[in-house]
Subunit: 658 residues, 2 copies
C-alpha cells in the first residue's frame, strides 16, 4: 500500500465498517452484499479486465455471454430476481450485461398483461427461451408518448392486429436488446378499431425467428450504431410492414379489444405510466448514485497519492487534496453522494407505500409519486452527472485516460439525463404538480404531506448572526424552504399575471418554463437537504458516524447556498453579510472533512474490480497500475501498418544525414 | 431540404454572407478559406466518413496517412505552414491528423534552438525525415514544471548529457506522436553539471531507429492506451536509462553548457514559457471556439426539425426550438460562440503586439500576456466545454449517438480544460497577477492598460430603472466591471486580513484560492463582455449585422448576470427588483434571437463534411441520415458469434412452444 494513502486511514474519526453497515441498512445486508460481490468477481466470465480495450462488437458478445452465464450462476447460488441479491448482482456487474430490456419486457407483461398472458410468456422469458425488448421510443418521438406514430389496426375478420410503421420518423429507434438479440418485443402503437383511434397500447410482436434468428416477414431490424457509452448494448431499430399479431397479443390487464371490436377499459389509464415511475426511482440508486460513489472514490484516493507543487516553500510537493481548490471540487460531490443515497432510500419507501395502495386499487398517490419520481430523477441525474464530470476533471490528464475508469462512468451517467424521460420535461411535470398544490394549499385545500410546506407563508429573513449559526440544520433547512416557496409562488404569480393580461394559457405556460424548471429543482433540493438533516438526527446511537454525517450534511447544504447564492439573496432572506458567513463556514467545512475524505469513500465498500480504475484502487499504486495496464492496450500489442506504408519511405531518406 | 429548416432561412433579418465575411475578417479571406476547405474535402484520403466506426488502431493509421498525404498536397497547392491556409487546413481536418506534436517539436526548436540547431534539425523535420515529439509531462508531474524528475547529467569527459528516468513517476507520459511514431523528441530534464542542478532544460533525444523504427538502446517507449478522445493520436510513454546525447543537443538559444561545464544564460528564463503562451492563445480558436460553433450548428438545426409535444392544443407538434426551455439551453451558447470568437481576435492581436516587442528583446509585456493567456484559456475552455455539453444534452437521445457528432466534439473539447495547463492552476496564476495589479493600482502605481479599471473605486448601485435599461451596454458592462473589482478587492482584503492575523503567507493564499479563482474568471468575463460590446459598436457600417450582433451581445451579458446572480446581488449593486428586470429582458431576447437562430449558425459556414453529423446537415434530413449511417455500423455489417454460441441453444428450446 502506498504510504500516502495508508496514512490517511490511520486518523479516521469514525469506524468505516459501521458506516458501511449504515449505508447498507445493517450488518447482515453488508454480509450478503459482500457474498454476492465475491461470487461474481471471482468468476472469470464476469471479468471486466479488458473492457477499455474492446470494440462495440466485443463488448456485445461479452454482455450476452455474461447474461447467459448469470442465469446459470443464479440457479447454482439460489439467487432469485425478487431477492435482495439481484440488486447486488447488477451492481457487481456494473450493468455490463445483456438483456436489461428483456427484463423490462418481462416487467411490462407482468404489470400490464392479463393472467393468461403472464402464464404464457413469463416462463419462456425467464428461461431465455425468447429474448424480449421494449419498443416504445421512435426515431421522431421520445418522451411525448401520445405522438407515437406506429399503428396497430384491428382486423375483425382475422382477429389480428396489423402493425405498421407509416413513415421513417415512426421507426422504433433506441430499444435495447433489439438491434441484434431480441426475438420478441412489446411494441407501443396507436390502436385503431373501425377507423377510430384509441391511443397508444402495448403489443407483443415477434421480430426474429426462433429457429435461425432471421428477421420475420415484414420486419426490418438492426443496430443503431455507436453511442457515447453502452457499447455492450444492442440498441436497435425496427420497421414494421403489415406485421400481424393475434388479438391475444395486446397486453390486456387494463384494456382489451373484444372479438367484435368492442374496446373495454379497466382501471386508470395512468397506470400505463407506472412502469416508468418504478424505473425512474430504481435508476436513481443503481445508475446514478453508485457511479457517483465510484467517481468520488477514484478521485479522492488519487488526490492523496498525486502530489503537485508546493504548499509551503522548501517542503516536498503537496498532496493535491491539501489544496483548497481541490477540496472544493471533490468534497461537495462526496457530500452529494451521501445526500442522494439517503434521498433514494426515502423515495423507495414512498414508492413501496404507494405501490401497496395501488395493488388495493387506490390510485390516489399516483400524482404525487409521478411528480416525485420525475423531479428527483431529473434533479439527481443532472446533479450527479455534473459531479462525476467534476471528479473526472479534478484528476487532470490521468482522469482523461479510459484506464482511470472515470470517462466510462461519465459517458454512462450522462445518458441518465436523457433516458426514461428528458429531464427538462420531467421537471416541468413536477412544476405543474407543484403549482397546482401551491394554489390548493393557499386556498386552504388539502395537499399531499410532502408539499404542505407550500401553505406556510414565511416572509422574514434568515436569523443567522455569525458563521456558526449556519451549521444549524434548522437555519439552512428553513432557508431552502423559503427559497423553494418563493420560486414556486413567484412563478405561479407570473403565470397568473400573464394569463390575466390576456396571454393565452399555453403561451403563458411556455413563457414561464425556464423559471418553472428552476422552481421544481429548488423543491427537490429542499427535500434532499431536509431528509439528510433528519437522517443525521436519527443516527444518535452512533456518535462518531453522526458527527461526520452532520459535517457532510452541513457541507451539502452550504455548498448549495454558496453555488446558488442568487436565489437566496434575491429577496434579502439572506443578506450579503450572511452570505459571507455561509462562505466562511463552507470553506471551514472543507478543511474539516478533508481529514476523513479517504475513510469516507472507503465506507462505500467498492472493490477494486468494481472500480476497474488504475487511479482508484485501495492500495493507491496509481503509477504502477497505469503503466502495467497501458502495456496491454491493442495499440501496443498489435502492429500498425502505418510504419511500413507511410513512415519507412520518408525516414529512410535521413539515414545518411543523422 | 426539409421544409421545416427551409422556412427558417426565409425570414433572416440579416445577410448571412455578410456576417460570414465579418467572422472571417473580410470577403477575400472567406474566399481563400472556402478554397482550402473544398480542396481538402474533395480529396478522399481526408474523408472522415467512417470515423465513428473505427478503432483506435484504425484511427491512428488514418491519421498518419493523412499527415503524409497533406505534406504532398501542400506542395501541390502551394500552401505553406506560415500562410493563412494552414489554419484553414487544420480546421478542415478537424484536427484528425498525426504529427501535431511533431509541429510543437519544430516550434520549440525554432524558438529555443540556436541558429546551428535550427539549420540542422528543421529541414529534416519539415520533410518528415524524422518524426519529433515534445516530452515534457511525466507520469507524476504535469503543470508544475519545476517538479519534473527526468535528469540530464553533463559528462565532461565525453561531452555528452546522460539522460535518465530515475523512478516510475519520472517516466514521460502523454506526449503525442511518441507512442508509435516519433524517432526523436525534445525531452525536458533537470540539468546537472558537476553535481549541481540548473533546473529544467530541453534536449533533443533520438528514441527510435531511422532504419527499422525499433527503440534505441536504453529507451523504453509505447502507447499509453485508450483515452476519452484523440483515438487517432499515439500519446506515449518514454523511459530513459543512461541514454547519451551530444552536448550540441541541448536547445541553446537562451542557455548553453560550454565544453568545460560552464553554464551560460542569455535573456529571460521566462521565455521558456513563451511557447505555452502562444499555444494557449491559438488553441482557444481552433480547439474550442470552432467545436462550439459546430455544436451550436448541429443542435440548433436539429431543434427546428425535431418536433415534440404540442405548444397549443389541437395544433401539430411544435419545433422544439419554440420551447422557451430549449431556447434557454441553446441560444446563450450561440451568443457565447460569437463572444469568444471576438475575444479570440482580441487576444491574438495582443499576442502579436507582445511578440513583436519580445523580438526586440523587450520582455515587459510577458507578465500581462501570460496572465491573459492563462486566464482566458481557463475561462473559455471551461465555458465552451459546458456549452458543448448543453448542446449535446439538448438533442436528447439522438445527441447521445456518436452519429450526431456531438459526443466526439464534447469528449475532445473536454481535454482542452486539462492540457496546456490545468484550468484551476491557470486561473490562480491570473489571480496572482490581478491582486498584484490591484495593490499597485490602488497605490497609484502604473499598471497594464487592461487592468487600469481596478484603480477605479465605484461603489454606488446600478442605475437601471426598467428592463429596457438592461439592454444598454454601458449598464451591463459597468455591472460586470463593478462585480470583477469587488471580487478582486474583497479577496485581496481577505488575504491581507489573514496574513495580518498571523496566518503564514502560503496558508493564507491557499485559504483564498476558491475565491481567487472566481475573481480571475470574473475578470475574464468582464473583458469578454466589454470587448463584445465594443466590437458591436464598430459594426456601424453594417446595420443589419450590427442589430443582430447587439442582440447576441445583450444575451451573452444578461445570461451571465442571470446565471451568476449571486455575485451581482451580493453587495446590492443590483437589487432583487433589478434582477427581475434582467430576467425579463433576458427571456425576451431569447424569443427575438430564436427567429434568426438558423441563419446565425449558417453564418459559421461549416460544411456538412466538417460537421460530420447526422443531425446537423444543412438540409435538415435528420432521420433519413441517421438510418442510412446506422446501417454502415460494424454492428450491422459484421456477424456476431454471440447468437451461435449462446442464444441458439436457448431459443431452440421454445421452438415447440411458440
Amino acid at each position: 500500500v502506498n504510504p500516502d494513502i495508508a496514512s490517511e486511514r490511520q486518523t479516521a474519526s469514525f469506524c468505516v465498517e459501521t458506516l458501511t453497515a449504515v449505508l447498507d441498512g445493517g450488518t447482515e445486508r453488508t454480509r450478503r452484499r459482500r457474498a454476492v460481490v465475491e461470487a461474481i468477481e471471482c468468476d472469470p466470465v464476469f471479468s471486466r479486465e479488458n473492457q477499455y480495450f474492446q470494440s462495440q462488437n466485443e463488448r456485445y458478445e461479452a454482455a450476452v455471454r455474461k447474461a447467459v452465464h448469470l442465469q446459470k450462476k443464479m440457479r447454482e447460488m439460489g439467487w432469485t430476481e425478487d431477492g435482495p441479491e439481484y440488486k447486488y448482482i447488477y451492481r457487481a456487474l456494473a450493468g455490463d450485461v445483456a438483456f436489461l430490456l428483456h427484463h423490462i419486457f418481462v416487467r411490462s407483461i407482468s404489470m400490464l398483461g392479463s393472467d393468461k398472458q403472464i402464464a404464457k410468456w413469463i416462463p419462456l422469458a425467464t428461461q431465455y427461451q425468447l429474448i424480449g425488448s421494449y419498443a416504445q421510443t421512435e426515431l421522431g418521438h421520445g418522451t411525448y408518448l401520445q405522438g407515437l406514430e406506429t399503428t396497430a389496426v384491428f382486423d375483425i375478420t382475422t382477429q389480428e392486429f396489423i402493425l405498421n410503421t407509416p413513415k421513417i420518423s415512426a421507426m422504433k429507434w433506441w430499444p435495447g436488446d433489439m438491434g441484434r438479440s431480441a426475438t420478441h418485443t412489446v411494441a407501443f402503437a396507436q390502436l385503431y378499431i373501425h377507423g377510430q383511434c384509441y391511443g397508444v397500447h402495448p403489443f407483443i410482436v415477434q421480430i426474429r425467428s426462433l429457429r435461425d434468428h432471421s428477421v420475420c416477414p415484414g420486419v426490418t431490424a438492426g443496430d443503431i450504431g455507436p453511442k457515447m457509452s453502452f457499447e455492450h448494448a444492442d440498441n436497435g431499430y425496427l420497421l414494421l410492414q403489415n406485421v400481424r399479431v393475434p388479438r391475444e397479443n395486446m397486453l390486456s390487464k387494463f384494456c382489451e379489444v373484444q372479438p367484435d371490436g368492442t374496446y373495454v377499459r379497466r382501471g386508470s389509464q395512468q397506470i400505463n405510466y407506472f412502469t416508468m415511475t418504478a424505473v425512474r426511482i430504481s435508476l436513481i440508486s443503481d445508475e446514478v448514485i453508485i457511479p457517483l460513489m465510484k467517481a468520488c472514490t477514484i478521485a479522492i484516493r488519487y488526490s492523496v497519492v498525486r502530489r503537485q507543487s508546493k504548499l509551503k516553500p522548501g517542503e516536498e510537493e503537496a498532496k493535491i487534496l491539501d489544496y483548497q481548490t481541490q477540496q472544493e471540487k471533490l468534497l461537495p460531490q462526496l457530500a452529494a453522494a451521501y445526500a442522494f443515497h439517503f434521498i433514494s432510500d426515502y423515495l423507495q419507501e414512498l414508492f413501496d407505500k404507494g405501490y401497496r395502495e395501488i395493488q388495493r386499487k387506490n390510485f390516489d398517490t399516483l400524482p404525487e409519486l409521478h411528480a416525485f419520481s420525475s423531479g428527483f430523477k431529473a434533479m439527481v441525474t443532472q446533479y450527479c452527472t455534473s459531479a462525476v464530470e467534476i471528479c473526472l476533471r479534478a484528476c487532470g490528464g490521468h482522469g482523461y485516460s479510459l484506464l482511470s475508469g472515470l470517462p466510462s462512468l461519465y459517458t454512462k451517467i450522462l445518458a441518465s439525463c436523457i433516458y426514461e424521460g428528458e429531464n427538462t420535461i420531467l421537471l416541468l411535470q413536477t412544476a405543474r404538480f407543484l403549482t397546482k398544490c401551491f394554489t390548493a394549499a393557499r386556498a386552504g385545500q388539502p395537499v399531499p404531506p410532502s408539499v404542505t410546506y407550500l401553505a406556510a407563508v414565511k416572509p422574514g429573513t434568515c436569523p443567522a448572526q455569525n458563521k456558526l449559526d449556519f451549521l444549524n440544520p434548522d437555519v439552512y433547512t428553513e432557508a431552502y424552504q423559503h427559497m423553494a416557496v418563493r420560486l414556486i409562488s413567484s412563478t405561479a404569480a407570473k403565470l397568473q399575471d400573464l394569463i390575466q393580461s390576456g396571454v393565452q394559457k399555453h403561451n403563458a405556460w411556455n413563457q414561464c418554463t425556464v423559471q418553472l424548471a428552476q422552481a421544481a429543482k429548488a423543491h427537490c433540493h429542499y427535500i434532499t437537504v431536509k431528509n439528510f438533516a433528519e437522517t443525521v438526527e436519527k443516527l444518535e446511537t452512533k456518535a462518531g458516524i453522526q458527527k461526520i454525517m452532520k459535517h457532510l450534511c452541513d457541507l451539502f447544504a452550504l455548498h448549495g447556498i454558496f453555488s446558488n447564492a442568487g436565489v437566496f439573496l434575491h429577496d434579502g432572506y439572506i443578506s450579503g453579510a450572511q452570505m459571507d458567513m455561509v462562505t466562511a463556514s463552507y470553506l471551514d467545512l472543507l478543511a474539516i472533512i478533508r481529514k476523513d475524505a479517504v475513510p469516507l469513500v472507503d465506507a462505500f465498500d467498492l472493490t477494486d474490480k468494481s472500480l476497474n480504475s488504475a487511479l482508484g484502487s485501495y492500495d493507491g499504486q496509481v503509477y504502477q497500475r497505469l503503466y502495467e495496464w497501458a502495456q496491454k492496450s491493442p495499440t501496443n500489442t498489435q502492429m500498425s501498418p502505418a510504419y511500413e506504408m507511410y513512415l519507412k519511405p520518408l525516414l529512410h531518406n535521413s539515414l545518411s544525414k543523422l
